[in-house]
């Protein structure tokens, strides 16, 4: 098979440094290409070979992958924002002002975080629509759809908890209205609201709780569920095929 990667990658791949980092044969040969994936910690959950259909842009529009990319951008910019942000009622708003006017590249950091967050909500919903319209939630992928719905909820949870953190009017009232709705839940409403706010109105306790949820609990949940989501794609036999190619794939499921 003729190799498809650019020449400079091949030249780099023959050098000592490259070979000290990546074990195995350099890419270019069938065996090297396979080892590039399955000997790499971060890629080994991917199959070594995929059906050409998997590459087709107009089937997935790469929406799931873009959602994941946005999550990575949010994690990276989020960690950087945490260096400046203080989750206290007295200082939160000023830390955002500092980011806007004092910190080098502060506005860029905050803008990237904010716009990626909005984009992620849109992209995850579009991804869900793609999965629905291609009927990819049907057996054997039922459970991965359920995992997906949980990912959607987590995405919304991130947005909701993040909005309070700047401690401005928009976030404060969104949190007040939002937790008010939670309070309308039958039976457990009042308790859940109390649990979220740590009091009966949005104040310091609520800010700290939203902060811990936003920067700790939700990221951990998101990382675990994303891993489950990707692992299930693999175990369910890779991406769904269009109906026209379906019959030939039914025997190929990875056990």
């Amino acid at each position: 098979m003729p190799s498809a990667e650019p020449g400079w990658i091949q030249r780099l791949a023959r050098g000592r440094v490259w070979r000290s980092i990546f074990r195995g044969e350099p890419p270019g040969t069938a065996r090297g290409n396979a080892q590039a994936v399955f000997q790499n910690l971060w890629l080994h959950f991917l199959p070594v070979k995929v059906r050409p259909h998997t590459l087709r842009f107009t089937y997935t529009f790469y929406l799931g992958g873009i959602a994941f990319l946005l999550f990575l951008v949010l994690a990276a910019t989020g960690v950087a924002l945490m260096f400046y942000y203080v989750p206290s009622v007295e200082r939160a708003y000023h830390s955002i002002k500092d980011l806007q006017f004092v910190v080098s590249f502060g506005p860029l950091l905050r803008n990237l975080h904010r716009w990626s967050a909005h984009a992620m909500v849109v992209v995850v919903v579009l991804h869900m629509a793609r999965v629905y319209y291609t009927a990819s939630y049907k057996a054997p992928r039922e459970f991965n759809w359920v995992v997906g719905v949980m990912l959607l909820l987590l995405t919304l949870g991130f947005s909701f908890t993040g909005m309070l953190l700047p401690w401005d009017q928009a976030g404060f009232w969104a949190a007040t209205v939002g937790t008010g709705i939670v309070g309308c839940l039958p039976v457990v409403g009042k308790e859940v609201r109390l649990l979220l706010l740590g009091g009966d109105s949005v104040g310091q306790n609520a800010l700290l709780r939203f902060y811990v949820l936003h920067c700790m609990a939700l990221p951990l949940a998101m990382a675990s569920l994303t891993a489950t989501h990707f692992w299930r794609i693999r175990k369910d036999g890779g991406l769904s095929l269009p109906p026209s190619q379906e019959s030939m794939a039914s025997e190929e499921r990875v056990p």
């Binding site: 009927a135 719905v149 919304l156 401005d168």
Partner: protein, 181 residues
């Protein structure tokens, strides 16, 4: 000699012959005589899938970077429990919910979203047909599209057609507060 740790000798399915350099290694369940066979046309993940992913990532990152340089994230006045903005609008993705809550806190805020969520979670178990071609699943496609559109319409109403006191307004009238992105 076979070490004990290997356990009992496997059953001799094909008798081993000293004259052969090969033997039966394992029996696997399958429909094809080829072991580890992939369809003829499968392509390797590196570089075919991963390079495409990389290009897609670079395009998306450039777009994000451009957006972040051109548009500033809003920051409103400091939080104050004493000053209630009117209307106090939720972020855009929750405006549909807020619109429903305006009609009824329980039906709109709890029942409708609760049922939608339950429906979404259970969808693959409710829709038991194996039909995959669009023309065989017209009803489902219509219902799902209606669901998405209903959400979109509610969000747009909340964003552009609601003013002080959550009363009707139009995006072009003077008392519409600038929508909050």
């Amino acid at each position: 000699m076979r070490p004990d740790s290997l356990g009992p000798e496997p059953p001799d399915i094909l008798p081993r012959s000293p004259h052969k350099t090969y033997g039966l290694m394992a029996l696997v369940r399958g429909t094809s005589p080829l072991v580890d066979a992939t369809p003829e046309d499968a392509v390797s993940t590196w570089p075919h899938l991963l390079l495409r992913g990389l290009i897609c990532a670079l395009v998306c990152l450039s777009a994000l970077l451009a957006a972040a340089m051109l548009f500033d994230a809003p920051l409103h006045d400091p939080a104050s429990a004493a000053e209630t903005p009117d209307p106090a609008k939720a972020p855009w993705y929750l405006l549909g919910l807020q619109e429903l809550v305006h009609y009824s806190a329980f039906i709109g805020g709890v029942l409708a979203p609760g049922l939608s969520l339950a429906g979404l979670v259970m969808l693959p178990y409710l829709d038991r047909s194996h039909a995959r071609r669009p023309r065989d699943r017209r009803t489902g496609i219509c219902l799902f599209t209606l669901f998405l559109l209903a959400n979109l319409v509610l969000i747009l109403i909340g964003a552009w057609f609601r003013g002080p006191g959550w009363s009707w307004t139009t995006p072009w009238s003077a008392n519409t507060p600038g929508g909050r992105p």
